[in-house]
Each structure stands twice: as structure tokens, then as C-alpha cells.
């Protein structure tokens, strides 16, 4: 499949790869330069492969309070957004998503591309009892503009009548401007917008952003940026066999009010009461090498967990990763990279936020 911006990517010399059945740009020349552009100025990503779903109905709020582990009752003003997991009956993660409150009978959610079919099947199955209408918006494209200057540059490319409204947006809020739905959200650890718009208008917006000086960025930079920001990637850092409590996502579960019956609550509550054996941490490799997913984490030669994501961080100029490990872990451990145990620091993500390094990578000392 191709997004409405496919011709833009080809003309710009993107290296295209298959991502969940979509021909998507991985980079346009230099993934590392694209990464720095987002940290320092502004970059844009075609994320039209993501699945936008509009949900409507008289009881749609009750439906979402049952479907999602975070509580949409927190959303009281139009355009307010919430990050949440959608759980199965075992309390494990079917997908993570952002839900936007539009009005009392309309919500919008954005779910992952790779999980589209199972998500839609799950949502539709549970929507029936609430007479909610599930409308997949495959007519829409989505462009993320991210970086310290992203909002200012993007505003110049949006309908003039909406400038004040988009620039006044608070984090995790969205506003509809003509055919555009502009949200102050993202997946990079930088400020910026995610703009949802009719597919046929996407090429013009893309070209005008490029003229304004926003750098075209591929999914490669998106992955290193989200990992530096300590943001989980579905299918890698959590999936249908792991709960939010062992994926660093406990903060997204709304336990109150205690009588809200969301899917997975029973299993999750039991896990919480029994105690979770694992915790989710950040790792920084002390020396040379690159952390990758599925490397063993060891303490004194004993396996205590596994990395779930890993990469070279262009900002830290070190390898970083996320790992699910025994909660007894201290502030140092080793990771097995091709048979060699290399020392790593255990840190609390994020590694980078708003252009600043947030972990002490020069920390040295005795092993705990």
C-alpha cells in the first residue's frame, strides 16, 4: 500500500521499505541528520500508515471507558487527548493508542498500522453492546511535524484563520481547523503537531512544510527519536503477552474510580496485588557497540531479563535500550552482545527530552 505522499517520497530520493504492508520511507539520505534536525530545528514524518478511527454514538463514552485502560472520563474539553493501552482479558496489551475527545458523542482514536486488523475486530466486537459506530478513516493522511521550531513553522502552512488556535494549543490537545485536525502530540520527545487531513490535501501541505524549512524524516529517525524519548513501541516493548505493569506503562492505567469495569481490569488487579516480578528500565552501554532487541541482561553472570528495544542514540552517541528485567536489579548490569558481556548503566527513561540529555551517562563507580 502507498500513502498519499508516496510520490513526494520517491521524488525526494527516499529509501523505501515495507512497513506492515506499506511502502514507507526509512530515510531520505541520512537518518542521523534527520534525527538531529528534529532535536534542533524541525522535521516531518509521513505517518499516514497509522489507522485513524472515528467512534460515535450516544453511549460512546461508556464504550471507551470499558474498552480502554485509561479513563476517557478525564477528557472534559473538546480536543483533549489521552494516551492509553487497549487490553485483552488477560490484562495484556492489544495495542497502545491516543484517543481524542471531540464531543459527547464523538471520539477519534489513532492506532498502530501493524495492528490494524486485530484492533478493528476487537473494537467492533465490543462496540456492539454500546451501539457505537466504528468508522475507519482511510481517506485521511497524517503528518507529524516535530522539533523546537515545529509549531511555529507548521503554523505558517496551515489555514491563516486557524493560526491563533493552533499556536494556543496546550500539550495533548487538538483543534479542528477547516479540514485539518491538528494535535499537539508526537512520538519524538520534542514539541510539535500531528496533523490529520484529507489524503488529497497532504501533498500540498508536505510541499509547503518543506518550503518552510521543515526537514523530511523517515521512520528510521522516528525510531531512534522515540527510543531516546523513552517511548514504547508496540510489538517490541509490549505485546499481547505483557501487561502495562511490566512495560513501564503503569501510569496509563486509571484504577479510580474503583467501580469502572474496563477490559483486563480483573487480571491486572490480581497481578498488581500479587506483585510484579519485572520492571521496565532504560540501559546505556558504557563502551562501544550497539544494543538491540532480545539481548540477554545479566547480573553477576545470571540472566535477569532481556532488552526489548535497542539502537545507537545519535544524541548521546552511545547505544541505548529498553529492557524488561527483574525488579531487584541495581544501577549496573551487563548485556550479552554476540557472546560478550558488556557493562551497561541502568537508568530511568527518558534518555532525551526537548533536546536535553536526561540521564547521567558519565556515572561511574562500584558495581551494585
Amino acid at each position: 500500500m502507498r500513502t498519499p505522499l508516496y510520490e513526494q517520497h520517491k521524488a525526494a530520493g527516499a529509501r523505501l521499505v515495507d512497513f506492515a504492508g506499506w511502502d514507507m520511507p526509512v530515510h531520505y539520505g541520512s537518518q542521523i541528520d534527520e534525527h538531529h534536525a528534529v532535536r534542533r530545528v524541525a522535521g516531518m514524518f509521513d505517518v499516514s500508515h497509522m489507522t485513524v478511527v472515528d467512534l460515535s454514538g450516544i453511549r460512546v463514552r461508556d464504550f471507551l471507558r470499558h474498552l480502554l485502560a485509561n479513563d476517557v472520563a478525564k477528557l472534559k474539553t473538546a480536543g483533549k487527548a489521552l494516551y492509553t493501552c487497549m487490553l485483552n482479558d488477560e490484562g495484556c496489551v492489544i495495542d497502545d493508542l491516543i484517543v481524542y475527545f471531540r464531543d459527547d458523542t464523538h471520539f477519534r482514536i489513532v492506532v498502530n498500522a501493524a495492528t490494524r486488523e486485530k484492533d478493528l475486530a476487537w473494537i467492533e466486537k465490543h462496540a456492539k453492546g454500546y451501539e457505537a459506530v466504528v468508522d475507519e478513516r482511510d481517506d485521511l493522511a497524517m503528518v507529524a511535524v516535530q522539533g523546537p521550531r515545529a509549531r511555529e513553522l507548521a503554523a505558517t502552512c496551515l489555514p491563516a484563520a486557524g493560526h491563533d488556535d493552533v499556536l494556543a494549543l496546550k500539550p495533548f490537545n487538538a483543534v479542528a481547523i477547516a479540514d485539518y485536525f491538528v494535535a499537539r502530540t508526537g512520538y519524538t520527545g520534542e514539541d510539535g503537531f500531528e496533523i490529520i487531513l484529507p489524503g488529497e490535501q497532504a501533498p500540498d501541505l508536505w510541499d509547503s512544510l518543506a518550503r518552510a524549512g521543515v526537514v523530511t524524516c523517515g521512520l528510521g529517525a522516528r525510531d531512534t527519536l522515540r527510543l531516546e524519548a523513552g517511548m514504547n513501541l508496540y510489538g517490541q516493548d509490549m505485546d499481547e503477552n505483557t501487561s502495562p505493569l511490566e512495560s513501564g506503562l503503569g501510569w496509563t492505567i486509571a484504577w479510580e474510580p474503583a467501580d469502572r469495569d474496563f477490559i483486563g481490569r480483573g487480571a491486572l488487579g490480581r497481578q498488581k496485588a500479587d506483585g510484579v516480578a519485572n520492571k521496565f528500565v532504560g540501559l546505556v552501554l558504557e563502551g562501544r557497540g550497539v544494543l538491540r532487541a532480545h539481548q540477554k541482561v545479566l547480573v553477576d553472570g545470571v540472566v535477569v531479563g532481556e532488552t526489548t528495544s535497542g539502537t545507537f542514540s545519535p544524541t548521546l552517541e552511545r547505544a541505548i535500550g529498553l529492557a524488561r528485567v527483574s525488579k531487584t536489579i541495581g544501577d549496573r548490569c551487563d548485556v550479552d552482545i554476540r557472546g560478550r558481556q558488556l557493562p551497561v548503566l541502568v537508568v530511568k527513561p527518558p534518555f532525551v527530552r526537548n533536546g536535553e540529555i536526561k540521564v547521567d551517562i558519565e556515572r561511574r563507580g562500584e558495581r551494585s
Binding site: S30, Q31, G220, T224, F312, R338
Partner: protein
């Protein structure tokens, strides 16, 4: 378009091989290979003195997105490795056939050179990918 010098030999696993005047052979990865991997951020080279057989994984090149093995194209002993790659792995991206060389084999069993392919055959092999 890939740069494939006509005076080198190649493997289907994307190593290039240069026969030096002293009988040793220098190894690197091709322009096509570095392009597929993207920007390199780490290179692991074998120890000098390692005895290797053709097809044996002996070095690792890692880009931001993936790690990839480099295979010994010939039988021989590692006599020199490119130490500059420790601080500048990007040399492989910038000059894959020159400053981005990875390792040099001595005591080469020259019979094993016969298994290598020429630039035309290598070009054909990557066009088939």
C-alpha cells in the same frame, strides 16, 4: 547506482577483495552493502592472528538500524585490521573501497580466490536481489 570497481573481486555476500602485490588480500564491504545498511555506527573486527576459512563470519558492521556479519572471502590469517574504524565507522560509508577497508589477510590459500566473482557477476547478483 552502485559503484563497483572493475579491478576488484567480490562475493555474493557483498564483500570486496583486493589482491595486493605481496600476495595478501584486503577486504571490505561494497558500496551497495553500505548503502543498504545505512550509516554505520560500530564495527567489530577480528583479532590479528585469527585463522579463517571462506564463509566464516569474522567481523560485524552495525548501522543505526541493523547489525550485519562480514564473512571471510578466502582462507588465510588476519595480519592487519583497520583501527581507524573504531572511531570513524562512517569511513565505510564514505570510502568503502579505500579508507573504509576492514581487514587484511596473509598466508592466503590462493585456491580459495577462485571462488570469488568479478564485477560483472557481482552487478548481476545485486540486480537479482
Amino acid at each position: 547506482m552502485s559503484d563497483i570497481p572493475g579491478d576488484l573481486k567480490y562475493t555474493r555476500s557483498h564483500e570486496w577483495v583486493r589482491l595486493e602485490e605481496d600476495g595478501s588480500v584486503t577486504i571490505g564491504i561494497t558500496h551497495h552493502a553500505q548503502g543498504s545498511l545505512g550509516e554505520l555506527v560500530y564495527v567489530e573486527v577480528p583479532d590479528v592472528g585469527s585463522e579463517l576459512s571462506p564463509g566464516e563470519a569474522c567481523a560485524v558492521v552495525e548501522s543505526v538500524k541493523a547489525a550485519s556479519d562480514v564473512y571471510a572471502p578466502v582462507e588465510g590469517v588476519i595480519v592487519e585490521v583497520n583501527d581507524a574504524l573504531a572511531d570513524q565507522p562512517e569511513l565505510i560509508n564514505e570510502q568503502p573501497y579505500d579508507d573504509g577497508w576492514i581487514m587484511r589477510f596473509g598466508e592466503v590459500n590462493h585456491d580459495t580466490l577462485a571462488e570469488l566473482i568479478d564485477s560483472d557477476a557481482y552487478l548481476a547478483s545485486i540486480e537479482d536481489e
